[in-house]
Symmetry: C2
Subunit: 181 residues, 2 copies
């Protein structure tokens, strides 16, 4: 497989880091891949953007930082404004329609998904916004199966919350599928 | 300050990664420091040891991986057997007495703390074992104040769980304080 370098970005409280950890664990535990997942915090983290890096590969990964992501997710305007220049040419840029107005030219496929709006309309709980985002990511990248995400979630959250998370994951997959080429 | 390089290791489900994320966030948001936090997963992660790296500094951090930790925490025998050789000479090695029998010679201070046992005796909930471990870490390293950990926790968990987490944090701090030089 081609090495997949991803950056999830947004603001604190959106569950960006949790989503990245779940994605990386699912890839390793259930897809037999290697993963490195990291966050770098600095002055920007104080009230600024959260950024979480994930590299997935079927071979060893030496350098854990993502310089140019194939897949860049931006869940706030500030994250978009900060990170859009780093997208790898020909990569995929996914934004949330509620939080991001895309106005920059990038050499990448752009997908604007109404993830937050759909979560609020269909589930009503912003806490699973990050899982909806993961649904979109797994639909676009096809690296990790939805069952693998759900197995990873099952080991981390109370079983009474699994159903809501499954719905959020499905919602993200459907939103992405509607915009796939 | 001297740059602090830490590795938390143990098995999946012990909350190693969560503890590392909380520590890094607390350092950045409330102590005005920089932090990089990462996990590398590979074949070892499949039923093996979990390892989470944290670097804390008051200056920029370029390379996010820890080669030789100043502080190495091992919460399982397998993690100890795997990682004890990487401790930085003169560093600090902390193990849990319930899970680790220390039998290797290392050029480091060794502290064996009954963290798991104390959590089970005093609180009865293994879920806060990782917070007890964080208490020991902040007591030994004095990089992050307990109030900063609690503020970080307050933004992540339901308020009804804060009291139990505060107790676990205090317990870890007391266990460490009893063994400080």
């Amino acid at each position: 497989m081609e090495r997949c370098r991803m950056v999830f970005s947004g603001s604190g409280g959106q569950g960006i880091i949790t989503a990245a950890v779940i994605f990386a664990e699912a890839a390793v535990l259930y897809e037999n891949l290697n993963a490195v997942q990291s966050q770098a915090y600095g002055p920007a983290a104080r009230g600024g953007s959260t950024r979480s890096d994930i590299i997935i590969s079927d071979s060893d990964i030496n350098f854990p930082k993502v310089i140019q992501p194939n897949v860049l997710i931006c869940l706030t305007q500030e994250a978009y404004n900060t990170f859009y220049p780093i997208i790898r040419p020909g990569g995929l840029l996914v934004t949330d329609t509620r939080f991001v107005k895309t106005e920059k030219k990038v050499d990448a496929q752009q997908r604007e998904l109404p993830m937050y709006q759909s979560i609020m309309d269909k589930i009503g709980k912003p806490i699973v916004f990050n899982i909806c985002m993961l649904g979109a990511v797994i639909s676009f990248t096809e690296i990790v199966k939805s069952e693998s995400i759900m197995k990873t979630l099952a080991s981390r959250i109370p079983s009474s919350f699994l159903d809501m998370n499954q719905k959020a994951l499905n919602l993200g997959m459907e939103l992405a599928a509607a915009q796939k080429m």
